[in-house]
């Protein structure tokens, strides 16, 4: 059994902090994660400390220095020999239940998108002139402008895709926002680890981040924390987000990231004997990675008829790849609730299958299932944990109305199609709600600087302060050296 603390509480008297244990796994696999149970007063004191001390620290650094600090922390995490990384490699699989090798590979791919060149690209995506984040810069229209980050940013994380909090944490750091992050019960470790590591590699940022935990729905703690923030960035279901929004003063900037749904499209052009194995393998990997827990994970593949390989044959090839991948990345043990959800989904497919319209591939004991339908329907979620629908369409543009049903939830569309088809489809996919179109096999690995849910991740966080030309002109008569 392993015991570990997951928190970063700069400025707080640790003796006075009560701790609670979240238990994951059992037997030798068991991990007890101690999380702080701060009183509303302690939360408030922590938030104020981070806002004042941490804010002064982070604002004193240049953007380049901040990028360098993050890059050093990421370099440590990319080093397989580093103690922090080793702890993550060992504990994250135990906490989340995900296959260890899957976590290791996933983390590598993910961390690589946060190295210095990638971070610079990330900033450049949103700021033509990144120096706006350091000081006032001249504007082409006249006058000067500067981008200021939040005085205190609060992150509310959800879920158990390991490393997920890093995304918004880094966004906050890049705009020089001191931040308090609330971790999810499902994965409380990563964010705290990163904050501690960052403080180690750059002590001048030691007070700029705090990582806390409290139970969702603990309104007293929520209120105490949110009252101190001027920006709240939250992940969660729409109900959670709606409840959270209710608690915020109208002047607090709220950046919600609701649950999302993603989908794959396979064109007839990709369906011949030469391409099938690679396409099916890529599609299977997108399903297997993080057991479809991500917003970018596919629930359905719409597959076009008319290729040398039929949509049904694609479904069988996908099933074959899922079966093979079980040996490389074993599916985690399902909780009773998850198993019931998978069972319910299977039963639903079987019931639909009584008239022959749905064929369920993979028996009840298999750690995956593919439901093949000859007639495509509106995009619906599957049951996660390697359950996926394959539905045949005459052509890929037929899917647009089927996807648009989920316009508010659609996020990533993985596409295997010819260049002409890709570009012809993109406009329609965008209008159907998609914000990210990528290659099959890349669905769970967004590129550095992507616009999460179609938003400008850094611009959304800042406030622009402008010195208008009139102020400059009006100041001239008061200069000591005026003529």
């Amino acid at each position: 059994m392993t015991k570990i603390q997951a928190a970063h509480l700069p400025g707080l008297d640790l003796q006075a902090v009560p701790w609670q244990t979240l238990t994951f796994g059992e037997g030798v696999q068991r991990v007890d994660v101690s999380v702080p149970q701060l009183t509303p007063e302690q939360l408030q004191a922590l938030a104020r400390h981070v806002r004042t001390q941490g804010g002064a620290q982070i604002r004193a650094l240049s953007l380049t220095q901040i990028i360098t600090a993050i890059d050093r922390a990421i370099a440590r995490l990319l080093d397989a020999q580093d103690a922090y990384r080793q702890q993550l490699d060992r504990l994250l699989p135990l906490i989340t239940g995900f296959d260890a090798e899957m976590v290791r590979l996933g983390l590598n791919a993910y961390l690589k998108t946060f190295r210095a060149p990638q971070l610079q690209r990330f900033v450049a995506e949103d700021f033509a002139n990144p120096k706006l984040l350091d000081e006032f810069q001249p504007r082409a229209k006249g006058g000067m402008a500067r981008a200021l980050g939040p005085e205190l940013l609060v992150h509310v994380w959800a879920g158990n895709v390991p490393g997920l909090p890093l995304w918004s944490l880094v966004c906050g750091l890049l705009v020089k926002a001191p931040a308090v992050g609330k971790t999810a019960s499902a994965e409380p470790l990563f964010a705290a680890h990163f904050a501690r590591l960052l403080a180690e590699v750059e002590p001048r940022l030691a007070d700029a981040l705090a990582i806390v935990w409290f139970k969702g729905g603990d309104t007293e703690s929520e209120r105490a924390l949110y009252a101190e923030a001027d920006t709240v960035l939250a992940y969660g279901g729409n109900e959670t987000l709606a409840a959270l929004r209710q608690q915020l003063p109208v002047t607090t900037r709220f950046l919600p990231h609701g649950h999302k749904l993603s989908v794959g499209l396979v064109s007839a052009a990709a369906l011949d004997a030469q391409h099938l194995p690679a396409v099916a393998r890529a599609a299977a990997l997108d399903v297997v990675r993080y057991e479809q827990q991500g917003c970018y994970s596919p629930h359905t593949y719409y597959v076009a008829r008319g290729g040398r390989v039929s949509p049904r044959e694609f479904a069988l090839a996908l099933a074959g790849e899922l079966s093979a991948l079980q040996h490389r990345f074993a599916r985690r043990a399902l909780s009773l609730e998850e198993a019931a959800s998978v069972a319910g989904w299977r039963q639903g497919q079987e019931l639909k299958g009584q008239d022959g319209s749905v064929e369920l591939v993979g028996d009840a004991g298999a750690p995956w299932a593919v439901a093949y339908a000859d007639r495509a329907g509106p995009l619906l979620p599957c049951a996660l944990n390697r359950t996926v629908q394959v539905q045949a369409v005459a052509a890929l543009d037929e899917t647009l109305p089927l996807l648009a049903v989920q316009r508010d939830f659609l996020q990533t569309v993985g596409v295997a199609a010819s260049p002409e088809e890709l570009h012809a489809l993109a406009e329609g996919l965008g209008r159907a709600g998609a914000t990210r179109i990528c290659a099959l096999g890349q669905m769970t690995a967004p590129e550095a600087g992507w616009h999460h849910d179609g938003r400008f991740s850094l611009l959304d966080l800042v406030r622009v302060v402008e010195i208008e030309a009139s102020a400059e002109a009006a100041a001239e008569p008061y200069a000591r050296y005026r003529d």
Partner: protein, 353 residues
Amino acid sequence: MPELLAFIARDGVGEADFNALALCLFAHQFQHNTAFQKFCQQRGRTPRTVKSWREIPAVPINGFKDLTLSCVPTDLCARVFQTSGTTRGDIKGRHWHPELAVYDLSMTRNFRTRFMAGHERLPMGILFPDEQQMPNSSLAHYLALALREFGAPGSRYFIDSSGLQIEALVVALQSAQASGQPYTLLGASYSFVHLMDALQERGLRFQLPAGSRLLDTGGFKGQSREMDMDAFYEQLASTFGVPRSACINMYGMTELSTQFYDGGNAMLPSVKSGPHWIRSRVVDPLTGVEVPRGERGILAHTDLGNYNSVTTILTEDVGIAVDGGFLLLGRAQGTQAKGCSIAVDEFLKAARA
């Protein structure tokens, strides 16, 4: 059917008798219900291969929504009970009953032993609409039966089309308290919550006479505020002066013809059990295999009262097998929303809109 009625009327049966009748009903349903036959064939189970009631394929309760599970043409059925449709919105599960003789015998025989505590009749207040208002509700029929077969003079409904009749209830409770005779209240759990809230607003509490009993069923279903079950029974006890051990919870389903009861709720979770014509298993939802004793699983029930639909259903309820019955731990919540992935209900709502 006479055989089934006689079976229910017996004082108890052994495994072999239960098994024999279950297999007989299975063969009958396999033969006369094509939807069920297909369902069994998908699983490679037929009357030739099934040798024990435990091997009868359990139909998930969603099957009552998607399939017509009846051995006789549905237009010949006297009654159809429908689910309230809490999980899949507008789609309701339907349970067809050619006639209600078996249902009624099952209900009355079981109710007498499990709720009446030796009384022939007791004064009853029903916190649920009557059968005229809800002709397709199995609970409305159940409570109508209770009232008709076991209600003492003065028993009545306290819900009409305009809702809970608080004033009349207050009068009835006050007179019950004064009479010294045991009184009973029966109804949906959420109706009790509404009643307790209304009484609390008025600052009223009662001390019902010794021997009084309460029967709640069905949980809150979004019809009232969700209450912690311990707080619920604590508040029942303090509002009505009925000890928690006399607060009985009935666990029933539209998809069954027989109910389960506990012996009061002094301790939670209470042990639920049914009569000799229903048996329950706790299974792995994916494989249908029984889980080791003491482990959580999904409840599957084999109800011989379900002679026209299917004897064996797979619920969405989590339970643990214990001595003398099972613990009911609530509904399997489905996939908890995790990561930035899905909350199935949200998407289903979107798909219907």
